[in-house]
Amino acid sequence: MTDAVVIGAGHNGLVCATLLAQAGMQVVCVEQADQPGGLARRRVLGDCQVPMAHAAFPPGPELVRELRLDAVGFQPGPTLDTIALGREGQHLTFSGDEVSGAALKDSDREAYRQFRQAYARFGAALRPLLLSPPPRLKNLPGADLKALVRLAWRLRFGLGREQLGEFLRVVGANMRDVLEDHFENPQLRGALAADAVRGHSAGPYAPGTVWTWLLRVIDSLDGPLSALAADELIRCLPKAAENAGVDLRLASPVANIAVADNQARGITLADGSTIEADHVVSSADPITTLSRLVGAPQLDAMFAHRVAQIRSAGAVARVHLVLSEAPTFTGLSDANLDHRLVFAPSVRALERAYNPIKYGAFSDEPALEIVFPTRHQPELAPAGQTVLSANVMYVPYRLKGGWTDARRGELLDRVLKLLDSLAPGLSQSVLSSECLTPADIESIYGVTGGHWHQGEVSLHQSLMLRPVYGAAQYATPVAGLYLCGAGCHPGGGVTGWPGRNAARQLLKRRGAA
């Protein structure tokens, strides 16, 4: 009998397990794979390795401090600028609050600075909301009410009346309108829109995309995008967990969560062994946890229905290419390959790339986010080889007719064709390649729908509605069962907030009991 068993050693599972153990609980953390890291763990491709989270924001200072990550040598690593690729080699470079490029007007440059600053202010006002469980809308405890009042105060008096008005206007708006308000350059708009919808199954015309942009802005407040942040984090987290006394068991897939009398009693592993525990905390996605591991018969019918309705079809494919030489992109220098390349030439092009996914198809010209991990970690590949890692938007989880090797090859060909148009001859230097569709990501990582964020971070699946109401404060209707994955508030990205919030919530409730 242990105090808590945490399912999944992804970053949220490890954060949660570590914080629980630090509070004196006896914690077992079970992971299905033989490596920790979850969706951020490295993927092996021939002689090479590729980190799945190829670009991430560094964890917040609260997390670094509480998990004592400095003690295990955490370094966020070199920062990534962003280069928005143009079709004809006319590129834009984003670095901090600055954007530059030959075709860019001064007005857009200045507008970008103001835009960044305005959204950073909105983000700063909202950030505390992400660091605590989302408030309930009724029957809320006094502490929640105080937090809500504080938030309202921050918004009203921190932002001021004018900015509050603007914030309330844009918070539910679509990215296209907001970008058109501020900028003229289509490529600038396209690149920002692509970041707003990255990982989501939504086009930039969809209301609610400013919200996902805001969440990204809040992430970015803790430091600039880095190539190593996620890889470093999942290298350090198991050590921090171990230091805290977490019993980490790899290659231990969970078969089910034992529930009796509406109380979680522990878990059964696939090999038939059981681990009894007072608390079960799952960093698996909510559908896996509640529909599969617990099972609908243990749940209230309407709650189970809501869980089954969670939108969790992924929309991003990952392409990995091992190249025999560093590619030459038209208009880019070799040093530029140290940074993140984004291809989304306009908001309309991005929306067009989105359209087919609604009907179970993928687009002729997808949007890309490209990083070369070997530029920062040459040890990932044999000398002389370059690894290209590209997120491809949008690719459906449910392809009409189903995913086959032939269809996967077709998608890869489209990506290669697009890459060739941006970096002539690139495809000739490909030594090996792989193409992971959302369906592949689901089967490899066990995340429903292959969705990065364990469920869309749309407005109707955010805050007190994430993953569903009734489980939005991390505790589920099954006593002793908690959720702590990205499927919970505040959502995806390599932030660790869901894991941290869940641990704190569990400890608070345990202390109160």
């Binding site: 809308l137 309330l168 539910g172 309108d177 969809a206 109401y469």
Partner: protein, 537 residues
Amino acid sequence: MATYDAIVIGAGHNGLTNAAFLARAGLRTLVLEKNPYIGGATVSRELHPGWKYSNCSYVCSLFRPEIYQALDLGNHGLKIVPLVSSMTFKQDGDFFGSYQNPHVRRRELMRHSPRDADAAVRFDADLMRWCRLIRALLLRTPPDPGSLRPRDLGEWLFLLRRFHDLSESQLYEFCRFFTLSIAEYLENYFENETILAHYSGGSIIGTGLGVYSPGTAYVLLHHAMGEVDGNIGAWGFARGGMGAVADALASACKSQGGEIRTDAEVVGIRVNGRRTRGVELASGETIDAPVVVSNLDPRRTFTKIMSPEDVPPALAERAERFRIRGSSGKLNIALDGMPSFPALPSGSPLTLGHMHFTDTLERLERAYDDWKDDRWSADPYTDTLIPSQYDPSLAPPGKHMMSVFVQYCPVTPEGGWDAAKRTAFGDTVINQIAQYSPDFKDRLLHVEVRTPNEIEHEVGLTEGNIFQGELTFDQLLFNRPFPGYARYRGPVRGMYLCSSATHPGGGVMGAPGCNAAREILRDLRRPDSTPEAFGDD
């Protein structure tokens, strides 16, 4: 020369409602209309000899019963005939009908999906709850979120109380309803593809959104919260066409002493020392009044008829950015007889109501994709009605008038509109209907095709947008038309807005006009002549 206490620009239904209440409060009120006829978008005219077309708006459901009663519109000649059904033709030769009679409706739902027939009970109850909640806000001025004035705080308190009456899970469900797309919202209830498509359609009418766009579930309410004879969600025809609504309002306005001048296009609002002085007409004539109310959308109001020095730059910028996207077209068709619809059993009452021809969500969404790329929908969503079956005044005996509202139609297709394109657009719609009605094309006597262009030029709705501005989160409630200006007041004293671009938005509702009148009378310290919202139950 007569002087006036108030001038209302634009004799659309909101302008007339506004003027009627101002006149009722004892103000000498003048309504100025640029067209030779009144009505704005609620207009009916004989555009083909013997036929009366309601050119823009074509059904009535949202009109507030409080206003109907307060202005005694029944006695001014307004009769609403309830519409009892709606239907969708299926591609396989079958159809789905939705009837007002609950027993018939349930039988029809059962025929398509017994599960959905049960879900419909839950759906109706939920929708009714949201209707009631939102309905209470229609005849109120939205509070300014940043303001600490007692009146705004009082409004917040009112809202809090309304929401406090809901249970915790109802509150979450409301948040979901407010933020979901119509397709996903309905998928919480229904499984049958035709039923999903049928009930989704209403949410995209007039918007620049698709059935999968978040926020469209709420638009459903905008079409569902209307009342006819106390039936929430019911639709009706105004007898004599939609122009009858404008005529009754005009009659009510005149009976209170208000004046209406047509052929009087306002080209400027005169301001002197931060106070409104009156208006200037295209003829050069000026008319004085301390209160000027604009029923035009804010973009026209603040960037066209007010001079730039009277409009703060930040406001002008907001007005330019106000989202008004034209997405709808309309066909008015004169028929020499009732077209047949072989899918329907003979004598079916379904031809009396709304008819739709798009039976899957994918078809609806693809129609939207076409529009996003500046094309009219190759397979459009249409709301087709033959109101002459109810109202013999619309067409000669034995003949019929058909009104086809078409979603989506771009403001500017590639290369712009020309006669050939307009015809091609019309043919797209006619061919779609003809697939379900073999004799339809033989019955055509006259077809009037209206793209957003025609609607804009004739009615004055920018881009032909029927709501005078998108109904998205960023343009609703205290954000409508923009933050800081949701209280019907313009940038200078004595200047007001009363159009559909203000809270609570579009549809032939009358609420914006009524709310603006209340604010004006408040500023003038006159007794309030506007009605209070009816209570529930």
